[in-house]
């Protein structure tokens, strides 16, 4: 983390979902899906976010995208706080940050042709004259490895990987600075995942993009990221460079995650750490450190107070009482 102007800076972001009960829909509690997440993303960098399902990664992505209303916190894009924008101002700034979705089948409107899908961000932002659209779309399709004459086809005629390429073409259409990819390759076959990741890497160089790349797959995150954040139960528990995290994870949760994803080629074998128990219900998170119920190195202090994210080594941030 440097002090230069970050492309994206998230400060203490929170997203709580009310839990309602009864006929009168009284709010009886909150699911703290994202509970105080902070990070900075430099231009041209990729931040990977890993965590188990239900840890709040997708909520984080959607809150940053302002599809969900943040409960608290700031989202600074190029220094401008977008967390409070609404209506027209929000719609206007959306072209700076775009999203690639998880499900290549659900994220493309089946009733629209590929051209209409890709051109939608251009049309709603009034960026391209109607007669130029076919040429622009053709160009975008070629950029993502499809053919220009795929324009008139419909999503159901494409495979999952091809659909994801269409989704990427839509995201880069407005020439955004930032792309948030939420499990962008998780629904694809492993061989196709590699193609899409390579495509995204290539586009990043070519178009000067930055990514927030969210995935439960450690290998994918390792492949594409510069920085990696580990999420657990709505909290960012560790945040550092890819090298530091994969060589020497500090948080016990990160250690456990990495040990579970053993790779045969790994040089120094690490002992496999098995986590006992389930992820606690986010409507009733444990007091103290959210991980203490499953932590193999739990101490008394962990049950009392919640550790904050601290810089344990240069550029290596961790929220754990051990460090």
């Amino acid at each position: 983390m440097t002090t230069a102007q970050a492309l994206l800076e998230v400060q203490d972001l929170k997203k709580y979902f009310p839990v309602q009960k009864g006929v009168l829909r009284r709010t009886v509690g909150y699911v703290k899906a994202v509970d105080g997440v902070s990070f900075r993303l430099q231009p041209g960098e990729t931040l990977g976010i890993v965590g188990e399902s239900g840890c709040g990664k997708s909520t984080l992505a959607r809150t940053i995208m302002r599809v969900l209303e943040p409960t608290a916190g700031k989202i600074l894009l190029d220094g401008q706080d977008i967390s409070q924008l609404s209506g027209k101002a929000l719609r206007r700034i959306r072209r700076k940050f775009q999203m690639v979705f998880q499900d290549p089948y659900a994220s493309l409107n089946p009733r629209m042709s590929v051209q209409d899908i890709i051109a939608e961000p251009l049309v709603v932002n009034g960026l391209v004259a109607a007669r130029d659209i076919p040429a622009v779309v053709a160009d975008l399709l070629e950029k993502v490895g499809l053919k220009a004459d795929d324009r008139q086809r419909y999503p159901h005629e494409f495979s999952g990987g091809q659909r994801q390429r269409i989704g990427i073409a839509r995201a880069i259409a407005v020439q955004p600075r930032l792309i948030v990819a939420d499990e962008a390759v998780s629904a694809l076959d492993v061989s196709i995942q590699a193609q899409i990741l390579n495509l995204m890497q290539g586009l990043k160089q070519e178009l000067g993009l930055s990514y927030v790349f969210i995935s439960h797959n450690l290998a994918v995150v390792r492949y594409i990221s510069d920085q990696v954040g580990v999420m657990y139960l709505g909290h960012l528990v560790e945040l550092t460079t890819k090298q530091a995290l994969y060589q020497q994870p500090l948080h016990p949760y990160s250690e456990a995650l990495l040990s579970a994803a053993l790779e045969p080629s790994r040089k120094h074998k690490r002992e496999r750490i098995l986590l006992r128990g389930d992820v606690p219900n986010p409507a009733h998170p444990p007091t103290g450190c959210p991980f203490h119920t499953r932590c193999p190195k739990v101490m008394d202090v962990c049950r009392q107070s919640r550790p904050t994210l601290r810089e344990a080594a240069p550029g290596h941030w961790v929220a754990c009482h051990l460090h």
């Binding site: 719609r91 999203m99 932002n125 990987g161 839509r170 407005v174 193609q195």
Partner: protein
């Protein structure tokens, strides 16, 4: 996972597979699925015939369906009066072919009315949620706990219906809640779908999202629901007429013809009076329901496999 450059051959093969056939739009695919439902296709033809007969009534019979002729009452079928005459000397065949106009007009107009109300109210409730949703749903509950037929009867006696349009308004006013609920829940679930989120992150506004994404995506269920509604509404109108709460008894409608035959004498001795309107109502409703069933298949992409 081992990362390498993409296997180019595989990618190319993938794409050429997609290119092998002529591109069919979702509409063409749906039409193909509909055509495979034989009963639905047959129903379209039969219903078209019924509509055509009603529209061409003046060319099919020279009898006036409302002019009384006391010199020729209660005649049996003959060359002049194909289905005989009623107690006022009106030709039954003329009443039957002209009657379709009223039933189809009410069914069609009320369906449009109900759909318009439901799309606006259900759409607002589903898209905006919050208090808008709460208010609209309360009104729906209110209407739901009010028996449909009773409400129409009470409203009719209050307004003292004498015109077809008032009856249409009253039926339309009572029939919207179920469709409104359906459209609301459709919108509620579609609103969270990824392609709608994609449109939002693209910067699309509420109108574009509703008209370009939510409505087209709900079209299938809406059209299916509309056909079923039409069948219901035609049945309801006829049912009201049968107990004497439909359009004015002098206006020819299938329900009215049936209603005027509901006495011991006519039922037992003049089947030509009541069998044709009963069958016409039934066949019309049956055809519409079959078409609805065919449309359900047409809009269900799973049927392609």
């Amino acid at each position: 996972m081992v990362m390498s450059t993409p296997p180019v051959e595989a990618l190319a093969a993938n794409q050429s597979a997609a290119r092998g056939r002529v591109s069919k739009s979702p509409f063409q695919l749906a039409l193909g699925r509909f055509m495979r439902h034989r009963m639905a296709v047959a129903s379209v033809l039969v219903l078209a015939l019924i509509v055509l007969v009603s529209l061409c009534a003046p060319w099919l019979t020279h009898w006036d369906p409302s002019r009384q002729d006391l010199n020729s009452v209660s005649l049996p079928p003959s060359a002049a009066h194909w289905l005989g005459t009623d107690a006022n000397g009106i030709d039954y065949f003329a009443r039957d072919v002209y009657g379709g106009r009223i039933d189809l007009l009410i069914g069609f107009t009320d369906t449009l009315l109900v759909m318009a109300i439901s799309i606006v109210l259900g759409g607002l409730a589903g898209y905006y949620g919050g208090w808008v949703d709460a208010v609209i749903m309360r009104v729906c509950d209110f209407m739901f706990n009010f028996p449909f037929i009773l409400l129409i009867i009470v409203l009719e006696s209050i307004i003292n219906t004498s015109s077809v349009w008032l009856l249409i308004a009253v039926i339309g006013f009572t029939a919207w809640p179920s469709t409104t609920r359906m459209i609301r829940s459709l919108f509620l679930s579609l609103r969270e779908s990824e392609f709608v989120l994609a449109a939002r992150t693209s910067g699309a506004g509420a109108w574009r999202i509703i008209f370009r994404h939510l409505l087209p995506a709900s079209l299938g269920p809406i059209v299916v629901n509309a056909t079923l509604q039409m069948a219901n509404l035609i049945g309801a109108e006829a049912a009201l007429a049968v107990i004497g709460f439909g359009v004015k008894s002098t206006t020819p409608s299938w329900g009215n013809v049936l209603n005027s035959s509901l006495d011991y004498f006519t039922l037992s001795t003049e089947p030509w009076a009541w069998v044709p309107p009963a069958l016409l109502i039934t066949v019309t409703i049956l055809c519409i329901n079959f078409i609805g069933d065919g449309l359900r298949d047409a809009f269900d992409p799973a049927f392609d496999k």
